[in-house]
């Protein structure tokens, strides 16, 4: 046919496809961040480093509902880890997300802050 025609179609549909997919990905990531734990466990993407991120921070949500996707201990274990550092913890209310292109963040959602040591959860590692 003509190399220019193929190149033109490739550029157009490739760019539109990339933009559309990126838009959907950003929307899903944003919904997961805003809706908190309800959206966090639905994929395994947010199951990393919840406890370590929150340790020593104040109100940064040192526990991860996002880490429960694989059936791990979640809130209790990471909460216990953060007490030694005197962290202000919002146990069980954090969300850990690790999205492509985003830095891993741990953000508490929809739960009031507590300024005390979190109570260890049943079955938590100590």
């Amino acid at each position: 046919m003509n190399g220019y025609v193929e190149a033109g179609y490739l550029v157009i549909f490739g760019s539109l496809g990339t933009y559309g997919v990126a838009l959907l990905g950003r929307e899903r990531a944003a919904r997961r961040r805003v809706l908190g734990p309800a959206g966090a466990g639905s994929t395994g993407a947010g199951s990393t480093s919840a406890g370590s991120t929150g340790a020593g921070s104040t109100g940064a949500g040192s526990t991860g509902a996002g880490s429960t996707g694989a059936g791990t201990t979640g809130a209790g274990s990471t909460g216990a880890g953060s007490t030694g550092a005197g962290a202000v913890s919002s146990a069980g209310s954090g969300e850990s997300t690790t999205q492509a292109g985003d830095a891993p963040t741990t953000k508490p959602q929809h739960a009031p802050l507590a300024t005390e040591e979190p109570e260890p959860a049943p079955g938590a590692m100590s």
């Binding site: 033109g8 760019s15 539109l16 919904r31 805003v34 959206g39 466990g41 953000k107 009031p112 507590a114």
Partner: protein, 263 residues
């Protein structure tokens, strides 16, 4: 200080992974996306394999089944952005929805304008012998692209929501002045770019017929549907980002209060 954490949920309770709640109109938006995708694929198939080569342009005419529809979508997107900006500026209809719609539509319009310039350049190289010429239509289209890039940058300037939204709306209206200039530039000035083929404003005739006309029409419809789908998703993303910002502010305030209580 010994009390346990204040939480609306029992500490240690395992949160069962819940599916993401479906946002409103997801089904309709999915159907719209499917229609847009099917239409765009059909346009590409008809344009590449079914329609005949042009008498003068040969196979290069196949690029024109997607180039004018993208230009149309860019105009439509900027028109919607301007209308939404106008509605935001009008005190009786001032809501944040119109501000979001203007931003979403303008972003999609910028994408389509950029692709219009690129596809036109790819068509122009074998036709005119140059990737770019300072033709009135090309120049004003490039100006349109830069103007709306500036508009998107203006939307990101930090500040109070009301102030930011108002100055963005004014910026969108100023940028839109270039749209009719782009469209009529081939009529007003001597231009290398051909005059409108589908609806020529001077002769009031159509210069495309048969399967070429139907394919082009399908391209216009499909890309319009694609625009609607992309804009709807960009709008929802903007809404979520606004919610996130609000929650971030609330969180910061709660942190400050907690710090004050601790002292």
């Amino acid at each position: 200080m010994s009390a346990g954490p204040v939480s609306s949920r029992p500490v240690g309770a395992q949160t069962r992974p819940l599916p993401l709640p479906r946002p409103p109109l997801s089904g309709a938006l999915g159907a719209l996306g499917f229609l847009a995708l099917a239409g765009v694929v059909a346009t590409a198939w008809l344009g590449l394999f079914v329609t005949p080569p042009d008498e003068f342009m040969g196979n290069l005419v196949r690029l024109l089944y997607v180039h004018p529809p993208m230009a149309w979508v860019a105009f439509l997107a900027f028109g919607v952005a301007s209308l939404a900006s106008l509605l935001y500026l009008w005190p009786r209809t001032r809501t944040e929805h119109f501000d979001r719609l203007a931003g979403a539509s303008a972003e999609v319009g910028v994408v389509f304008t950029g692709l219009t310039l690129v596809s036109g350049s790819i068509w122009g190289r074998p036709t005119w012998g140059a990737w770019w010429v300072w033709d009135p239509l090309l120049t004003t289209t490039a100006l349109l692209f830069v103007l709306y890039l500036g508009y998107l940058a203006l939307r990101r300037v930090p500040g109070d929501f009301e102030v930011r939204a108002r100055r963005s709306a004014i910026g969108a209206l100023i940028a839109f002045v270039d749209v009719p200039i782009v469209y009529f530039s081939v009529v007003w000035w001597r231009s290398l770019h051909q005059a409108p083929t589908v609806l020529n404003p001077t002769t009031r005739k159509t210069y495309v017929h048969g399967s070429m006309a139907w394919t082009l029409l399908l391209g216009f419809v499909s890309f319009t549907l694609l625009y609607a789908w992309l804009t709807a998703h960009r709008y929802r993303l903007a809404k979520l980002q606004d919610l996130e910002d609000t929650e971030g502010l609330d969180l910061a305030l709660r942190e400050r209060r907690a710090e004050g209580d601790a002292r």
